[in-house]
């Protein structure tokens, strides 16, 4: 052979059959890892960090699990990516999308084994996905006009999302919380206005929704603990000293009294700064940096509530909800936007004192205070609640709603099956395979609940043969039930995103016929 080497040392190349094999195997392994978390009876995983501290996370959230995995397989990475995208786009269905993509690939593997060209499979999948989407579109319910009904739809969706999470026991309570919080947003999808504070202690049921904003900080000494009609200046400025930040700046004097003078001048400068701040006509001052004792006392003398060392996230959000701006210079009081709120007071949650801003400018803002047994519980509760909030805020914009519990998959599978029968040629095999992959989702839900999946899915399929059927898997009683009666709903947007991104991901992986692994970059400190 004339050509000895094209690639660098250590770079590897996998071709044709081998490459496809490797992607299939990787993708399917990832699917198998997360599929036990699917559905209301899905299990949790412990994520044990190999880093410092061996931190432990307990979670049921597909995106969280996948995000933290060590992955070396390129195809597996594609799946993790779609789960991330799903998380960013709609917030929920992160597990479903990976499972569906995995199942599609599993079916494709069989087709490839029976010598069907990947391109044929892809075009079959495309047709099937289009058809499935149309099937869903025909069956959506849209209660946009009827506010009452729409709210009950939201409640149902929230409950369905939460039922697969740690909050399932108190889903009624949390669904109420989430719906109220999202309704306050009035259609905006800006979840930043919903603040989630976690406080260990108490039980999940003690969690509550509070209008306004809560800052986990202390009020300075000797300052008022309660202010009505507050005018808030949010700032990010040094309230210790204005250091001259020129390297080596120093003063030389020849007597002690001059040192005292300089000290006095420094103090004077600080006092001026404080005066300027006070001149804004405020009665609450929130700073991101420390406020030293001296200015703190000045503020106390002026009867201004000063909060020091608020975290960055905190002040940005505070500025947002109170309608103020973060200021760092104070020379032009007119140009600085000052935030307003009706009442600032100190409240106690559990053992800690927090500062509560109520009646804020941005009426949408609210805070959800989560209580729970431990940090694990709280973290997981936050993730679950976040999912629910995402889904709800998406649903408020796109009000189309579907039933849940495997119902959409069965509807799609039925339509896709019809299509397969009508389609001539090899493509029909691919379309059929697509329908099988769709059915896999109710199968997994049933399996996770410890039910006889083969029997249930067969019953479900039979039930779906009648027109306008609402049958889905009722995991609680372990039988086929009417989803509309049970109040299990899902957002159309989530389902559509699952369907389309899973198909796209599967397509992408199918197209691969060669994997080139580049040589790892040499690291010198490796040894």
């Amino acid at each position: 052979m004339a050509i000895e080497k094209i690639f660098k040392d250590d770079a590897t190349e996998e071709k044709g059959e081998r490459a496809r094999m490797s992607s299939f195997v990787g993708a399917i392994a990832i699917t198998d890892l997360v599929k036990t978390t699917l559905g209301p009876k899905g299990m949790d995983k412990i994520l044990q960090s190999t880093g410092r501290g061996h931190g432990v996370t307990v979670t049921n959230d597909g995106a969280t699990i996948l995000k933290s995995l060590h992955i070396d397989n390129p195809a597996a990475k594609v799946l993790i990516d779609i789960s991330k995208v799903q998380d960013d786009e709609v917030g929920d269905g992160t597990t479903s999308v990976v499972v569906l993509a995995g199942e599609l690939l599993r079916e494709a593997e069989k087709l490839v084994a029976s010598k069907i060209h990947p391109m044929t499979i892809i075009s079959g999948y495309r047709m099937a996905a289009e058809c499935a989407r149309n099937a869903l579109l025909q069956r959506v319910v849209d209660n946009k006009e009827n506010a009452e009904k729409f709210k009950s739809d939201l409640m149902k969706i929230a409950k369905t999302t939460l039922s697969s999470k740690i909050l399932s026991q108190d889903k009624e309570h949390f669904a109420q919380l989430a719906v109220e919080a999202v309704m306050r947003l009035k259609g905006s999808t800006n979840l930043e206005a919903i603040q989630i504070i976690k406080k260990p202690g108490g039980s999940l049921k003690d969690s509550f929704l509070d209008e306004g904003f809560i800052l986990d900080k202390k009020i300075g000494l000797g300052q008022p603990k309660r202010i009505e009609n507050a005018k808030i200046l949010v700032a990010n400025t040094a309230m210790d000293t204005d250091k001259v930040k020129i390297y080596g700046a120093r003063v030389r004097v020849d007597s002690m009294s001059k040192v005292a003078e300089i000290e006095g001048a420094e103090k004077e400068k600080m006092r001026e700064k404080v005066q300027k701040i006070i001149a804004h006509g405020i009665n609450c001052f929130v700073n991101r940096q420390l406020i030293y004792n001296f200015p703190e006392e000045l503020f106390a003398d002026a009867g201004i509530l000063a909060i020091e060392h608020a975290d960055f996230d905190g002040i940005e959000r505070l500025a947002l909800v109170t309608g103020g701006e973060i200021a760092s210079t104070f020379d032009n009081p007119e140009s600085v936007k000052i935030g307003h709120c009706k009442l600032i007071e100190e409240i106690m949650i559990g053992e800690d004192k927090l500062i509560h801003f109520s009646g804020v400018e941005m009426g949408q803002a609210c805070t959800i205070v989560l209580r729970g047994a431990s940090h694990h519980v709280l973290d997981e509760a936050e993730r679950s609640l976040h999912d629910a909030l995402c889904v709800l805020s998406q649903t408020v914009n796109d009000t189309r709603v579907l039933l849940g519990g495997g119902w959409p998959e069965m509807v799609m599978a039925k339509e896709v099956d019809e299509l397969a029968r009508k389609t001539p040629g090899k493509k029909s095999h691919a379309i059929e395979a697509f329908s099988r992959a769709l059915v896999a989702i109710p199968t997994i839900i049933a399996d996770n609940a410890g039910l006889d999946s083969a029997d249930l899915v067969a019953q479900l399929r039979a039930a779906h043969h009648t027109e306008g059927c609402n049958a889905g898997i009722d995991v609680i009683s372990g039988s086929v039930g009417d989803m509309a009666e049970l109040g299990i709903s899902e957002s159309f947007k989530v389902k559509q995103a699952v369907l389309l991104s899973a198909t796209e991901a599967a397509e992408m992986i199918l197209r691969v016929d060669e994997i080139i692994t580049c040589a790892p970059r040499q690291r010198e400190d490796r040894m």
């Binding site: 392994a29 995995l69 007597s255 002690m256 004792n293």
Partner: protein, 533 residues
Amino acid sequence: MAAVTAAQPRSSKTESYVDNKRKEDIRQANIIAARSVADAVRTSLGPKGMDKMISTANGEVIITNDGATILNKMEVLQPAAKMLVELSKSQDAAAGDGTTTVVVVAGALLKQCLSLLSHGIHPTVISDSLHKASTKAVDVLTAMAVPLELSDRESLIKSASTSLNSKVVSQYSTLLAPLAVDSVLSVVDPEKPDMVDLRDIKIVKKHGGTVDDTQLIKGLVFDKKASHAAGGPTRMENAKIAVIQFQISPPKTDIEQSIVVSDYSQMDRILKEERNYILGMIKKIKATGCNVLLIQKSILRDAVTDLSLHYLAKAKIMVIKDVERDDIEFITKTLNCLPIANIEHFRAEKLGHAELVEEVSIGDAKIVKVTGIKDMGRTTTVLVRGSNQLVIDEAERSLHDALCVVRCLVSKRFLIAGGGAPEIELSRQLGAWSKVLHGMEGYCVKSFAEALEVIPYTLAENAGLNPIAIVTELRNRHAQGEINAGINVRKGQITNILEENVVQPLLVSTSAITLATECVRMILKIDDIVNVR
């Protein structure tokens, strides 16, 4: 699949079938690990429970009976075991006491779960039934509880001493229990009668003496001595106290500075100026009538110099230096004064008043006591004494538990019998309830009921009694309607435990049951451990 680890990512990906066996193993491993943690603290339960000696990595030795402390220092690695440690921490946060109980209950529940799992019951079914059982249990407990008035000091003391009885310092419970009650009651704010902030109670530990010498001080105690350097006063009647956050020392600027001395006469002048500067400050202080100075610690420059101490002593001002910044809030609240951050703001209205500030020597160390404070804030100080560091530390922990118990009673004013009575009653009532439930649920609730018997069983076992005889006897008594029958560890028999004054707050029991259930449910739902970054 199950083990996509960093070590062998490729080999593990070749499997694609569902391997259920491994999942069972993970769940079992988790349960076993968590149970071994529970077993480790089991022997410290109850008034005759034993203590543990923990030697930490840096050679420090701790002897304690407090479940939360033991678990905290154990440094477990297994994730499920870690969750039990977290559990005891949450109980500590929620109720303050019952940290051992909660772990023991969780351990017993896990044991029952293991057998339920081996019967092939789906974990989520068990988990749901446990939740149902625990809500029912809380109802039963609430029904058993006796309401309490805060004016009923006797009952409060009783429950505080129940908590103290299981500790190393149990022989001092007659002293510590009223002390805990008084200190909590004195910080209750009449405006918010349900809230007690334990940070308003300061515990000062001091070597020497015995636990008997522990006292409640209506005022302030500093674990420091007054500055003696220049023979300043150490006792001050009619004190006017100032809390200052500036320093009485030569000026120092934030910008780098240096004084250039070019000739001999200048040196003299500098010294004189320094003296004048300090003298000027002290004059201002003296002018307000202040005679006690509390100076906040500063990292930037010396709080006081020999020179300033000398002048302060001459001006008959007592000085306590190096007060931590974190303590300032507590001090100002107690003294009802304002901190002063600048000499220019030194005004008489910012001072606090007290009848007496004096330095007292205790053993070989000295402390400063401030008593007779005018308009004192709602705070208290407890001075804990003990013959050695270990005893003091344990006394502090026990006192903290007792304070928490009283706090629980303030926020939720119900008492419940101790000595295993509520647990056995729960077990009985839930057992009866399980018979009316259908299917798996009934079976699981029955197991839950059985698991609760672990508390009386362990109490009896730790007291050296025959656990089986005691528990069956107890069950029998409860079946006959004596719902307050419990184990009297001192007499070694079953008596009406309410009459024996063994009582505990309702909140401790309910939170132990709910938290333990929540934790067990979480462990049950885990089917895999994934190693991640």
